[in-house]
Symmetry: C2
Subunit: 219 residues, 2 copies
């Protein structure tokens, strides 16, 4: 089944809202989508007819299995494109979400599969949020700060909490990218700085402050 971009946005919003509290109500969805409660009610009838959610008048709604799977497919597309925009085009964190909001509605299974492979099957988007696989399964990730990474354990750069130009400059210098393979080879107790190996580059030193703001997943 192929939904319109608008229907897809409804599905995605319900998914996010119901993650917080099981059932979603009309007004909160209307607020989230910046639309009227009446429009939400109209759309809920339609999505119920399409068997994507359960809906009881006056008592809110929740995605069923099919609706959930659809939501995860949209989120997968969104996050893969965000990864692409940052890691391949070098766009800035703040700008990518709105573009991904458009790209996520381009539908073609082979495209998404090939994009995923091209990007090296990333497990998180640039904000550190997990990317569901083709089957709609969210990878279980243990994300930790680089400073807390066990010594000599292989890990992958997943996100960066401080996204200033100053941080960008540093990441650039170290050639650290999202998805970079990283390993701590030595810790200096004196100032908390770390010796790390990034991809196939020679080892280098990262300060404690840098290591506090760089996040990796180690599983």
């Amino acid at each position: 089944m192929k939904l319109s971009p608008i229907e897809e946005n409804y599905i995605k919003s319900i998914y996010y809202l119901q993650a917080k509290k099981g059932n979603v109500n009309t007004n909160s969805l209307a607020a989230h989508l910046e639309t009227s409660a009446a429009s939400v009610t109209d759309m809920m009838k339609k999505l119920k007819r399409k068997k994507l959610l359960e809906y009881k008048k006056y008592y809110g709604f929740r995605l069923n299995a099919a609706g959930n799977l659809y939501a995860l497919e949209i989120i997968r597309r969104h996050r893969l494109w965000e990864f692409f925009l940052v890691s391949k085009l070098g766009m800035q964190w703040e700008k990518i979400h709105d573009i991904a909001e458009q790209l996520e509605h381009v539908s073609n299974d082979e495209l998404i599969k090939k994009l995923d492979d091209f990007l090296g099957n990333p497990k998180t988007d640039p904000h550190g949020d997990p990317i569901p696989n083709e089957k709609g399964v969210m990878p279980v990730l243990r994300q930790i700060a680089l400073k807390d990474l066990t010594i000599k354990k292989n890990a992958m750069v997943s996100s960066v909490s401080n996204q200033t130009p100053q941080m960008m400059e540093m990441l650039n210098h170290y050639k650290i990218k999202l998805g970079s393979h990283i390993k701590v080879t030595k810790q200096f107790v004196f100032d908390g700085s770390l010796q790390v190996k990034i991809d196939k580059q020679p080892e280098c030193i990262i300060s404690s402050m840098g290591a506090k703001n760089i996040f990796v997943y180690d599983n």
Copy 2:
């Protein structure tokens, strides 16, 4: 000005049709877009109101300068995405057009600029059609078969006329991609085969039949 995907498709179709004959008439545009003549008339009134075309009742229409520029912007996006789909994701020629038809409507100037750079500022799409630059200027290209390329002249692979899996296999083996830099270093008169240098790889031999089906632009 930002048009809807539907309006953009109208603009693009008019552009293509008027390349053949100066003025476009209602029925031919309706046929091209697989819609009714009545819908075309409605849209022409609207696009005239938006000052993108000249339109005289019963006498057809033609894009004005603003409309032409807009059309070229859409074509630029379409062809850049097609190049991406083939050269980066390795998709097949026949499948990319429909996907580009969706991607071309994603609008963000910085995105297209960065995509262009990421792809190495290609001059043609995978079908060999020229890609307009940001200013809407189509590059003037002399496209010739590799077999006709002047010896030792630098050129760039632009398209391939035979798009069978067998050809793909061969291109793959030679690591020939769209946009590859190519130069003929020796011609063998005996069988018409060529010694060529592709990107930074060591020289290799391509048969006359291969060289007949690989196209390059040499300016």
